[in-house]
Structure formats: structure tokens, C-alpha cells
């Protein structure tokens, strides 16, 4: 018996470590279990079995309402946003060839933040009521994220895009975006600043089904595209010289991958705000589990990211109840020490 399961078609090639398949299965089960437990926790505690019942249409009406209308969409959004951020981070780390890169550090999240604060500033009247529907907010955030991703790419272009330039320019733009965000918050009334601040920190509070159903197809489509391009990602990790040597159109693939990464991160921040450090942490943990072949790294990262945000959200709504803390506070609180640990043991630059 071979150690691998091999899948090869004209445009695809995957090498699945059998161990990785196990990891994926176990992670999936853990994720489902965590979701079930999370659905039962909160103001109104429900036993996991009753949650299951409620999901399948049994149980009391109250339980059904709480589970399917309030908690399930929120949990699904948490998982989707986490998965999208994680895959985005995994792709970015491959392109930049540095395991410390992530969509929030290179300014993609910052771009979305500016867009959101601008949205609040432009479209509210004197009495602070929004003059357009709040439903447009995700679109604004998404455009902001995309614009910055694009800008970073353009500015880093100089006879090709080098990973180092990409990071440095990203960090610079992230700082500028932060300054702009603060400026916008100061210019507006304090009420609006609070509103924007909750969003910027990242929260899945108050999610409804419509949001989940908008994000779901987007993340699925981008995720599948990312999977299709994994072999180019594997090549990117080897560096420009080797990449050219094996006949990969390095620059073209870099653009495509960067677009995918931005699209995923943009989608996530559009609905869940600036949840930090997930794009950094999840791919790392995944790499520890299954190694760095992207065919398995991407699904494992996605599951890991979903689990992280799910747990962060659970902590956010239960630890300080009845106060709601943005989930982003918790991802930062675990993410930063993890990052420090990574810095200590990092070998290559």
C-alpha cells in the first residue's frame, strides 16, 4: 500500500497523504461537534441533543427559533469567515514565502476598515441615521479590501512583484489606512465611532441568513479555485528561479493567487469585520499537522480557521455575558502569543 492517494487529471494533480485524510476527517468531526455545543450555549442553554432535535425540526418552538434563526447563521458565518481568512493567509504565506504574512498585516483588512468608516461618515445624516441601507456595508468593505490589495500589488510592481516589496508596502499601507480610519472616526460623532469600532475589531454578532447565503457561494467558489491552483502555489514557495525553471509563469500565477487571497479575505471582512490573526495562525497549525503541500494544506487550514473563529465567537458571547465582546479580541489574544512563539522558533527569514 502506498502512503499516498494520488489524483491526477490534465489540469489537476494532488498528492494526498493518507494521514492528511485522517486529519481532515477528525478536524471536520471536531468542528461539527464544536458547532453543536456552541449552538447550545448562551443566554438560553440548550442540551446538544436538543439542539440536534431542533435542527431537524423537532423540539419546542422556542428552541427551534433560538437555534435556527439566531445561533445557526451566526455560527455558520463564523466558520465561513474563519475558513476564508485561513485560506487567504495560506495563499499569501506561499506567495510571500514568509510564514509571518497574513491579510491583516499587509493592509487588506485595513482597506476594508477605511471603507466602512467612510461609509458611516458619508451616508449618515445629521441625526446619525443612515441614509442608505446598512445592507450596502459589506459591499463597501469588500471594495475597500480589494482596492488595497490591488494598490499593494501595483505599488510593489517593478519588473515583477517581489515578495519582500509586497510585505513592506503592505505594512506601509496598513499604517496609512489605520491613520485614515482614526481620522474618519474623529471627524464623526462618537456614536458612529463606537459603531465602526465594533466592526473593525471583528464580530459576527447579529448575523442573519441572508448574509450567510451571500458569503457561502463566494467562499466555496474561491476555495475551489484555490484548490485548483495549488500546484502553482507549491511552485511559488520554491522561489522565482526554480519556478521559472519548471516552466511556471511566476508573475501571472502570483497575480491570480493574490487576487484569490484578496477575494477570500475581502469576503470575510465584508461580513465579519477585521478578525485578526486567523490568517496567520490557522495555516501554521495546519502546516504542523499535515506538512506544507498545498493540496491538503488548504482544506486543513480552512477547517482550522473555521474552528478558531467559532471558538473565539463562543468565548466572545459567553465569557463576559451579558456584554458582547467582538470575536476579534479573542483571536488577537490567542494569535499574538502564538505569533511571538513563531518568531522565536523561526529558522529562515
Amino acid at each position: 500500500m502506498s502512503k499516498y492517494v494520488i489524483l491526477r487529471k490534465r489540469h489537476l494533480s494532488y498528492l494526498f497523504d493518507k494521514k492528511a485524510l485522517w486529519v481532515i476527517t477528525i478536524l471536520f468531526v471536531v468542528l461539527m461537534f464544536a458547532a453543536l455545543v456552541s449552538m447550545g450555549m448562551g443566554q438560553m442553554a440548550i442540551h446538544p441533543l436538543d439542539v440536534l432535535k431542533a435542527l431537524f425540526g423537532y423540539g419546542t418552538e422556542m428552541e427551534r427559533l433560538v437555534v435556527t434563526s439566531f445561533r445557526l447563521p451566526r455560527i455558520m458565518l463564523a466558520i465561513l469567515a474563519g475558513a476564508a481568512l485561513a485560506v487567504s493567509g495560506a495563499i499569501l504565506q506561499g506567495i510571500i514565502r514568509n510564514p509571518l504574512a497574513s491579510p491583516d498585516i499587509i493592509g487588506i483588512t485595513g482597506g476594508a476598515s477605511v471603507a466602512v468608516v467612510t461609509f458611516f461618515t458619508l451616508f449618515s445624516d445629521r441625526s446619525n441615521a443612515l441614509t442608505v441601507s446598512i445592507n450596502w456595508l459589506p459591499l463597501a468593505a469588500f471594495l475597500g479590501a480589494f482596492l488595497i490589495g490591488f494598490l499593494v500589488y501595483i505599488l510593489a510592481w517593478k519588473e515583477g512583484v517581489s515578495p519582500l516589496r509586497l510585505v513592506l508596502i503592505g505594512i506601509g499601507l496598513a499604517a496609512a489606512m489605520k491613520a485614515l480610519t482614526t481620522l474618519m472616526m474623529i471627524l464623526g460623532p462618537i456614536y458612529r465611532a463606537t459603531e465602526a469600532n465594533i466592526w473593525i475589531t471583528g464580530s459576527v454578532h447579529g448575523t442573519n441568513w441572508r448574509e450567510v447565503l451571500t458569503l457561502l457561494p463566494w467562499v466555496l467558489a474561491m476555495g475551489v479555485l484555490a484548490l485548483v491552483r495549488t500546484r502553482h502555489l507549491n511552485v511559488q514557495e520554491l522561489g522565482d528561479e526554480v519556478g521559472k525553471g519548471v516552466g511556471s509563469a511566476i508573475q501571472k500565477e502570483r497575480l491570480i493567487l493574490l487576487t484569490l487571497s484578496t477575494a477570500l479575505a475581502g469576503g470575510a471582512v465584508a461580513f465579519a469585520g477585521g478578525i485578526g490573526f486567523v490568517g496567520l495562525m490557522a495555516p501554521h497549525m495546519a502546516r504542523r499537522l499535515v506538512g506544507s503541500a498545498y493540496g491538503v494544506l488548504i482544506p486543513v487550514s480552512a477547517l482550522m480557521g473555521g474552528l478558531i473563529v467559532l471558538l473565539a465567537d463562543l468565548a466572545a458571547r459567553t465569557l463576559f455575558a451579558p456584554l458582547e465582546v467582538p470575536a476579534g479580541v479573542f483571536t488577537a489574544a490567542i494569535g499574538a502569543p502564538y505569533f511571538i512563539y513563531l518568531l522565536f522558533r523561526q529558522r529562515q527569514h
Binding site: 462618537i190 463576559f320 505569533f339 522565536f344
Partner: protein, 334 residues
């Protein structure tokens, strides 16, 4: 790398001109703004104070503001030059290394958790927070097998900044009143700051400036590389440690008075190097004067952008600094 100014004479002259420009800009900072004040009236405010509105504005508002801008600009630029020297990272800057965010976090904790309101306490807490994160980032950046690499240090700083700012945001979400109090401070501004705030930190800034000048010859040796410096009989770790301490004094003091002001420490050392080269004995004084000039000018400009409102000067420097950072990144770093 030789600068534009080659001879001893031209360097002295340049320094003199820079000093004069700083004084002129302080004057402009006192005179220009929403309330127009004539030069004569500003002069009278000091010689024959009569308690008129204009005189009060000059003494209570404009003068402290100008002096704080000058002191903070000078301190940040010198801190940046020292950081760039010891880390060999041309992109080093107190704000990029998360020092500001650390101070901001400390302030927000103080306001929201301990309900601090006293100005002196504010100053000290910011100072401590800045010092703490400076040390953490430096230790982080130099840890690991290959020691300090520019990209590692930059990422370490960016991540620490991200950490502190998300924790800050988290606290602010929980405590709206704190948001109101610290939001303006968090943007970095010299407006509305009291002279006492400057006087509290001035001894440390003075210590930082003097210390930096005394350390300049050692920094020159360090510039040749750790091995060469060691060969010349220098205790490299001691010099680096001293320099970090000075950065903490300078950047911490600045953040305590004016909040996080971005990129002054990044931009100015590059300009100063272009003028006088890498000799730290010249470089540091030039940084001090140019830094003061930049912040004074940015602060004056900040009053006119959205008149009658004001842009925090920290936002102005960020907008000036970002293109510069992009330029440096495109030019390529070692």
C-alpha cells in the same frame, strides 16, 4: 555614503540654518491658525501681557503646541536614527515597531479599567507602555537563529502593533466613555496639550538627546558592522542596549505627550543621511532639527486642511510618510 554637505564648514552652516528655520516655524506655529494673530501681537503677549483673548491663545494654546511639536519631532527623528542604526533596518521607526500602539494600549487600560484622569498619570502610563513594547519588539526581533533581519523585525513590529491595537479596540468597545476620552489622543496630536505635559517628559527627552550625542562615536563604529565594532574593542551589546534605552526615553516621552505620531522617525533619518552622510555626530543633530521642522510644518498644515476643523498631526505625518516608505521599499533595501 557621502551626503550633499561635504565640508565641515557647510555642515556647520547647514545646522545653523536648520536651527533658524526651527525658530521661524515655531513663530509661524504661534501666529497662524483659525484665530489670526499678528506677529506684533504675539510679541506683545510675552512682553506686555494684558489678558486679551489673543494673548491667552498665544500663551495657553499656541506656544505649548509649538514647543511640544518641536520637542516631539526632534525626539522621534533621533529615536528613528538610533533604531535604524542598531537594527540595520532602513525601515525602522518607533511607530512601525509597535511602540505607539503599546503606549496607546496602556493609556486605554488606565482610562477604562482604572478610571485614570490625571494628566501626569496619563503621561507616565503612556511612557511605561511605550517602553514595554519597545523592549518586547527588540527582543523578539533579535531572537531566533539568524538574529535581526529587516523583514523579521518589521513583521514583529507590525504584529505587535496589530495585537495592541486590537486589544485597545476591544477595550474601547466595552467602554464607550473611554473611547471618547482617548480617541483624539490615539490619533497623535499636539493640539490642546498643556505645557506641564511637556515639562514632565522634557528631562527624559533632554537625557535622550544628550545620550544620543555621547553615543554617536560608538554608533559610527557599529555602523561598520558588529564584527568590526567588536574588533575595535567595542562592547557591542552594551552600545545596543544603551541605544535601545535612549530610544525608549525619546519615543516613550514623545508618545506620552503627543500620542502616536507615525513615520517621523522613518523619514527624517533618510533625509538627514542624504544631507550629511552616515557620521552620527552630524547625523543626530540634523535629525533633531529636521524632525522638529517636519512636525511643526505638518502641524501648521493640519490646521488648514479641513478648516475650521483640524486634522490630527499624526494623520498628516502618516499620509506624508507612507509614500516615502513605499519609495524606500521600491528602491530596495539591503
Amino acid at each position: 555614503m557621502p551626503g550633499i554637505l561635504q565640508s565641515q564648514y557647510s555642515k556647520c552652516l547647514g545646522l545653523f540654518i536648520a536651527a533658524v528655520l526651527v525658530v521661524i516655524l515655531i513663530g509661524c506655529s504661534i501666529v497662524y491658525g483659525l484665530t489670526e494673530i499678528s506677529w506684533g501681537m504675539a510679541y506683545e503677549a510675552f512682553t506686555q501681557y494684558n489678558g486679551s483673548n489673543e494673548h491667552i491663545i498665544v500663551q495657553q494654546n499656541r506656544l505649548p503646541r509649538a514647543l511640544i511639536a518641536a520637542a516631539v519631532g526632534a525626539s522621534l527623528a533621533v529615536a528613528g536614527a538610533l533604531l535604524q542604526g542598531i537594527t540595520r533596518n532602513p525601515l525602522a521607526d518607533p511607530s512601525i515597531f509597535g511602540i505607539n500602539a503599546g503606549a496607546g494600549f496602556a493609556i486605554v487600560v488606565a482610562v477604562s479599567v482604572f478610571s485614570t484622569t490625571s494628566l501626569t498619570a496619563f503621561t507616565w502610563i503612556a511612557f511605561a507602555g511605550a517602553a514595554f513594547s519597545a523592549v518586547v519588539v527588540y527582543i523578539l526581533g533579535s531572537a531566533g537563529r539568524d538574529g535581526l533581519t529587516p523583514i523579521k523585525l518589521t513583521l514583529a513590529g507590525a504584529a505587535m502593533a496589530a495585537l495592541f491595537s486590537s486589544l485597545t479596540q476591544g477595550l474601547l468597545v466595552l467602554n464607550e466613555r473611554a473611547l471618547e476620552e482617548v480617541l483624539f489622543w490615539l490619533a497623535g496630536s499636539v493640539e490642546g496639550r498643556k505645557l506641564e505635559a511637556l515639562i514632565t517628559v522634557l528631562p527624559y527627552m533632554l537625557g535622550g538627546w544628550t545620550g544620543a550625542l555621547l553615543l554617536a562615536p560608538k554608533m559610527n563604529a557599529l555602523h561598520l558592522g558588529d564584527d568590526v565594532a567588536r574588533g575595535l574593542g567595542q562592547k557591542v551589546w552594551l552600545v545596543k542596549g544603551m541605544a535601545v534605552l535612549l530610544v525608549v526615553l525619546l519615543a516613550g516621552g514623545s508618545v506620552a505627550v503627543a500620542g502616536p505620531i507615525l513615520f517621523v522617525g522613518l523619514v527624517i533619518p533618510h533625509i538627514a543621511r542624504g544631507l550629511v552622510g552616515v557620521d552620527y555626530r552630524w547625523l543626530l543633530p540634523y535629525c533633531a532639527f529636521l524632525g522638529a521642522m517636519l512636525l511643526l510644518a505638518a502641524d501648521i498644515a493640519a490646521r488648514y486642511v479641513i478648516m475650521p476643523g483640524e486634522v490630527p498631526v499624526g494623520v498628516m505625518t502618516a499620509l506624508i510618510g507612507t509614500p516615502f516608505l513605499i519609495y524606500l521599499a521600491r528602491k530596495g533595501i539591503r
